[in-house]
Symmetry: C2
Subunit: 351 residues, 2 copies
DNA sequence: GCCAGATTTGCAAGCGCTTGCAAATTCAAG
DNA sequence: CTTGAATTTGCAAGCGCTTGCAAATCTGGC
């Protein structure tokens, strides 16, 4: 048995019990903050635990029906500033609440996702945060059936009202579009996100609404399909640049695509923002590191992560009022003016 | 007992045993691939498990002395392209080996790191990968004492020969410097990393060696202290730009600082690479997304993550030949030529 | 100083699994 | 057909913890 070597150095609840002179169940209760433990006893136990350097064995605890204080996080991958920022918020809040984090990426085991969710809910996690744009319904159903706490980030749950946190996608796109209109732009190219994703739809709608509200005719040919990734943004921008007359601004549904668009524009020998303005969505860290710095709609990604954690912990620690917790939090976006947008070039004014 | 609700829907090894008509210990053995289970029995068990959708309970398994197939990863944080790339490799390799990942960030519980390591080795992980630049010796000692498998990434372990993976820092810096020299540069500013980190020292040494080997006098005043972060790179570059005569190239010890340097250079109204060349180290994703695209020394970050995982799994799965596994893998760096370096400006040729 | 009731504590069971050991089964050779 | 060795299987213990229940201790009112 190889765990013997571990055991030799491991401090168990029994050691603490011996050291503090009470029974191990009392130690357990004292450590878990039960209120019907005498103050003096609790102090004794805490002191002994501290002295021995006792750390509860998570496996045993959870086996016995306790909590692991581990939260699962399911993401498509980390290679994406957008996800990264959310994860950062998640991580910080988790640390604050003294939980640990299990990271799962969907890149893995593609096609067997159902069993994936099974694995997670059978794993050590007390609950799970899902930042998975294209989520199958069955996932949620499984989670529901297991009464396994979960929170959705930035994704709509068609039927069931799952706890979730997102941002004002419609409003953000509206504001951005209005900003461009105010700068004098009339031919504003729009690069969509993946149509299967609700937020992509919302952003497109916000764009359209702003156009309509300010007397700018909507032109279907100024819409280019994107996929939320940089190469897709590049391709979409190329298409838009062929439009005659050329658009004076391009609004991409996220920063990654905006970055691709910038490249495409530069490759045409055009200047940003002199010849053409570019506007993004998300405000990932790269947005302020490129040149010119990208004007974009800021999603409070980190805060979204934070809120997701608190919604989840609420479910975990108070499973009784689950339904009350099943709420949706929508955070405000904000336009961040940087360098990639300018007033319409004068040569175009007459146009 | 709240786990009752979980239990109601959970498939245990007993269910599989009943279904397949053998005892639960046989099921355990069949599932864990013991070789002294009869083929027919194994098939029966596997079929039953599949049919019932059985997923082993990780907690119970590990409690009983088995492995959890969970690998811990300790990083300073995710907000850093450099770490992100390594993590990506780690994640991929872990998935391939059918392990799961626990993510720990050191941002947390600062000052109590010792107990932090305690927590990790008491946690569910079978082993841990450390990507922590400034690692206290005591960490490793604790790990050693617990016989807890670990691997170091990109960091030297002063005394003990810990299993580790890194890249050819000296050679990479040497090659890059030579490249600049070949382009005609003679006044090459160098932005250091944190001096406490071995790789920073190695890169500086590589720079010096290349200078020496090619008859360029080393000038102490062309060295500026950096810290591996963008603002530090900005500040260091500002300092270098005051040097008279101005350096014709700046070599930053990592990309993040190179990005800062680029900004500083632009803020002085200078052009890259026309007026001054910039060279980085790492090749983080951003390096190819900025304009001009950054010429840099590529570290095979993803591969480093991958190798780290395989070294770790080797320890976990074959604890017997631990010493043999305690080896160091150093991967080759490679210069990636992009747009941020050019031949010395002619105006400077005479200089 | 004693007792009923309230507050604390201890005991023991059991969470789901692995594994040493013994029992059962198989097999080949006699 | 036996028989003994080799191969498979089953039993039971136990990993470290939580928690229901019962026992022990304490409290205050008499």
């Amino acid at each position: 048995m190889d765990s013997s070597r571990k055991k030799s150095t491991r401090v168990t609840i029994l050691d603490v019990a011996r050291e503090s002179g009470v029974s191990y169940s009392t130690v357990s209760r004292a450590l878990n903050g039960f209120d019907f433990v005498k103050g003096a006893t609790r102090d004794k136990v805490l002191a002994a635990a501290e002295k021995l350097g006792y750390v509860a064995n998570v496996q045993a605890r959870s086996l016995a029906g306790g909590k692991t204080r581990i939260i699962g996080l399911l993401v498509p991958g980390l290679d994406n500033g957008y996800i990264g920022e959310i994860v950062r918020g998640v991580d910080e809040e988790i640390a604050k609440a003294n939980y640990d984090l299990m990271l799962y990426t969907t890149r893995r085991r593609v096609g067997r996702e159902a069993m994936y969710i099974d694995a997670i809910s059978n794993g050590p996690s007390d609950g799970i945060i899902l930042i998975v744009p294209l989520l199958e319904r069955e996932y949620l159903t499984a989670l529901r059936e297991h009464h396994f706490p979960y929170v959705l980030v930035d994704q709509i749950d068609p039927q069931m009202h799952s706890p979730m946190v997102d941002a004002t996608n419609w409003q953000g796109a509206y504001d951005a579009t209005k900003y461009l209109i105010d700068l004098g732009h009339r031919r504003i190219g729009f690069i969509t996100g993946l149509r299967a994703i609700q937020s992509a739809l919302d952003r497109l709608d916000g764009y359209k609404a702003a156009l309509a509200d300010h007397g700018v005719r909507f032109d279907e040919t100024l819409i280019a399909e994107g996929d939320f990734f940089t190469p897709g943004g590049y391709a979409a921008a190329q298409k838009l640049l062929k439009h005659k007359p050329r658009p004076t601004a391009v609004f991409a549904s996220n920063d990654l695509m905006a970055l691709g668009a910038m490249q495409a524009i530069r490759d045409q020998g055009l200047e940003i923002p002199e010849d053409i303005s570019v506007l993004g969505f998300d405000d990932i860290p790269q947005a302020s590191m490129v040149h010119p710095q990208l004007t974009t709609v800021r999603q409070p990604l980190e805060q979204m992560g934070r809120v997701a954690v608190s919604l989840l912990i609420e479910q975990i620690e108070r499973p009784d009022n689950l339904e009350r917790a099943a709420r949706r939090v929508t955070l405000a976006t904000r336009l961040i003016e940087r360098e990639s947008c300018a007033a319409v070039p004068t040569s175009d004014m007459k146009g």
